[in-house]
C-alpha cells in the first residue's frame, strides 16, 4: 500500500478505537437505565 493509504488507515482506526474506548469508559456515569 502507499504511505498515504497506510497513514489514512492507521489514523482512522485510532480515531474510531479512541472514540469508542472513551464512550464505553464513560458508560454508567450518567443516569440509570431503568425508570
Amino acid at each position: 500500500m502507499t504511505t498515504g493509504a497506510i497513514v489514512a488507515t492507521v489514523v482512522m482506526w485510532l480515531v474510531f478505537i479512541g472514540a469508542l474506548w472513551f464512550s464505553f469508559s464513560q458508560m454508567g456515569k450518567g443516569g440509570k437505565w431503568e425508570d
Binding site: M1, G4, V7, A8, F24, Q26, W33
Partner: protein, 504 residues
C-alpha cells in the same frame, strides 16, 4: 392504572437496535465509492468533521426529543406546538415509502443469495460479462422505461412477501423483541464483513484497490463537491430524518443516557463503513487485475456495485465462489433487515399507534400489508425506475428538508438550551453550549447545503436521472402529496395512544 411507554429492556439491546438501524446497505455500496471518488484518504477529513458537527448533534436531538416527550415524531412536534405536528408526519411518510422499496432491494439480495449458490450468472470471464444482463434481464426483467410498468416479477414478489412476514413477527411485540433480534442482525453482518474482507485482501490485486480507496489527495479538499459528498454521506448514513430515531429515543427510560448513546451509535456506524471499504475495494482491485481494466470501469456506487460488480468478482474468484457469493448477499440482507424494522416500527407503526390508539398487533399488521402492497410496484418490470425516482424523492429531498426544519424548530422554538439541559441531567457525557449552535445553525445549514447543491441545482434545470419530464416530475408531486397528507393528519382529532405505549 398508570400508562407505561414501552421500553428497551437493556441498554445494549437499544444500542444494537440503533446501530443496526444506522448501518445499512449504504455503508457498503455508497461510502467506499464516495471515498475513492472524492480524494481517497483526504475525504475522511470532511467526513469526520461532518460526523462531529452535524451527524452527532442531529442524532442527540432525535434521541433527546423522543426521550423528553415520550412520543414518536408527530407527538413530539405536537408537543412543541399543535401547528408543528405536520413536521412529525412528513418524515413518517418518507420512512413508509423508503421501507416499501428498501424491502424490495432486500428481496433482490435473497434472490441473489439463492442464485449465488450455483453462480447462476456464470463462471470465469463469461460470468463476468454476463453479470449485468443477469441482473437487469433475468432477475429484474427490466422494461424499457418508467412508463412501461409490466407485471410483478414473481420470485422477487415471493421473497418480498417472506420478508414482510418476518418483519411482522419481529415487530409485533415491540421494542423488547426488536432489541433482542438486533443483536443478531448486527452481529451476523459484522461477522460476514470480516470474512468478506479477509477474502478480499487475500485476492491478487487487492492492494491496488485499497490504494485507490485510501491514498489521500489533499488538493481535493479545496473542491466544494468533496464537502458536499462528505456531508451528504453523513446525512444519509445515520438513519436520521426518517422519524424512527425519535421513536427509538422515546423508548429510552427517563433517567437514562442520551448523548453517549448517540456517540456510540454514530462512531460504530462510521467504523463499519470504513471497514466495509476494505472488503469492497480489495475486490475492486482484484477485478481490475483479473480483467485488465481501469478502476473507473469497475467501481461504482449503489445497486450496480452490489448486484453487478460484486457478482463479476465472484465469477472470477479462484476458489469458493459460491460460498463467498452466498455470504455476500446474506450480508446485504442482514444489513438491511434491521434498517427495515427501524423504518417500519420506529418510523411508521409507533407514530400510528400514538396517534390513533391502535394496538401494536393491529397497527403492525396494517402497516405491513399496506407497505407490501405498495412494494409490489417496485417488483414490476419497470420497478427499478420507480424505485430510483421514489428514492430520490424521500431518501434525499424529504429526509434533508424535514431534517433541517426539525433542527430549526427544535433549536429555535422548543429551545436548544432546554434540550441540552434535559439530556445533560442524565447523560454520561455532558455537552456544552456549543451544542445549541450546532443544532440551531450548523446542522440545518449543512443539510440545506446538500439539498440545494446536490438536489435543486441539478434536478430543476434538467429532469432527474435523464427520465422523461413527466416521470421525474413525480418527485415534486410525491413531496407535495405527502406534505398535504401531513397537514391533514395534523387536523385529524383522535383519542391518543393506547395504554401500552403512552408515557403519560
Amino acid at each position: 392504572m398508570a400508562e407505561v411507554r414501552e421500553r428497551w429492556t437493556s441498554r445494549y439491546y437499544f444500542l444494537f437496535a440503533a446501530i443496526g438501524s444506522a448501518i445499512g446497505l449504504g455503508n457498503v455500496w455508497r461510502f467506499p465509492y464516495l471515498t475513492y471518488k472524492y480524494g481517497g484518504g483526504a475525504f475522511l477529513i470532511p467526513w469526520i468533521i461532518g460526523l462531529i458537527i452535524m451527524g452527532i448533534p442531529w442524532m442527540m436531538m432525535e434521541f433527546g426529543m423522543g426521550r423528553y416527550f415520550q412520543r414518536s415524531a408527530p407527538g413530539i412536534f405536537e408537543g412543541i406546538g399543535k401547528k408543528w405536528e405536520w413536521l412529525g408526519w412528513w418524515p413518517v411518510f418518507a420512512a413508509f415509502l423508503i421501507v416499501a422499496y428498501y424491502t424490495v432491494v432486500m428481496a433482490w439480495a435473497l434472490r441473489y443469495a439463492v442464485s449465488a449458490a450455483s453462480v447462476a450468472w456464470g463462471m470465469g470471464e463469461a460470468g463476468a460479462e454476463g453479470a449485468g444482463s443477469y441482473f437487469f434481464g433475468t432477475v429484474l426483467n427490466l422494461s424499457s422505461g418508467p412508463g412501461v410498468l409490466g407485471t410483478p416479477v414473481l420470485p422477487i414478489l415471493g421473497f418480498l412477501a417472506l420478508i414482510w412476514v418476518a418483519l411482522f413477527f419481529i415487530m409485533y411485540k415491540g421494542a423488547g423483541v426488536i432489541g433482542k433480534v438486533a443483536v443478531w442482525t448486527v452481529s451476523i453482518p459484522w461477522a460476514l464483513l470480516v470474512i468478506l474482507m479477509i477474502r478480499g485482501v487475500t485476492l491478487p490485486g487487492a492492494i491496488d484497490g485499497l490504494n485507490y480507496y485510501l491514498t489521500p489527495n489533499l488538493a481535493a479538499l479545496a473542491n466544494p463537491e468533496v464537502w458536499f459528498g462528505a456531508f451528504s454521506q453523513i446525512a444519509f448514513t445515520l438513519s436520521l430524518g426518517m422519524a424512527g430515531m425519535f421513536a427509538y429515543g422515546s423508548f429510552i427510560a427517563k433517567k437514562a443516557d442520551v448523548t453517549n448513546n448517540a456517540f456510540i451509535t454514530s462512531f460504530s456506524n462510521c467504523a463499519t463503513s470504513f471497514f466495509a471499504g476494505f472488503a469492497v475495494f480489495s475486490t475492486v482491485g482484484f477485478i481490475m487485475q483479473s480483467l485488465s481494466i481501469p478502476v473507473g470501469e469497475v467501481s461504482g456506487a449503489g445497486l450496480g456495485l452490489a448486484f453487478v460488480t460484486y457478482p463479476v468478482a465472484i465469477s472470477m474468484m479462484p476458489a469458493a465462489n459460491a460460498l463467498i457469493g452466498v455470504l455476500f448477499f446474506l450480508c446485504l440482507f442482514f444489513l438491511g433487515i434491521d434498517s427495515a424494522f427501524f423504518l417500519a416500527y420506529g418510523g411508521v407503526i409507533s407514530p400510528v399507534m400514538d396517534k390513533f390508539g391502535l394496538s401494536r398487533v393491529k397497527a403492525t399488521a396494517i402497516i405491513c400489508v399496506i407497505a407490501f402492497l405498495i412494494g409490489i410496484i417496485f417488483t414490476t418490470n419497470g420497478g427499478l425506475y420507480w424505485l430510483d425516482i421514489v428514492d430520490r424523492t424521500v431518501s434525499f429531498y424529504a429526509l434533508l428538508i424535514t431534517g433541517a426544519l426539525a433542527c430549526i424548530v427544535v433549536g429555535w422554538v422548543f429551545g436548544a438550551g432546554k434540550l441540552r439541559e434535559h439530556v445533560n441531567k442524565t447523560s454520561d457525557i455532558k455537552v456544552g453550549a456549543w451544542f445549541d449552535w450546532l443544532l440551531k445553525v450548523v446542522v440545518p445549514a449543512g443539510l440545506l447545503f446538500v439539498v440545494i447543491y446536490g438536489g435543486f441545482m441539478t434536478d430543476i434545470p434538467a429532469p432527474y436521472g435523464g427520465y422523461p419530464t413527466w416521470a421525474a416530475s413525480m418527485i415534486w408531486v410525491i413531496l407535495a402529496v405527502t406534505l398535504g397528507l401531513s397537514f391533514w393528519l395534523q387536523a385529524v382529532k383522535t383519542k391518543g395512544p393506547p395504554k401500552e405505549v403512552s408515557g403519560k
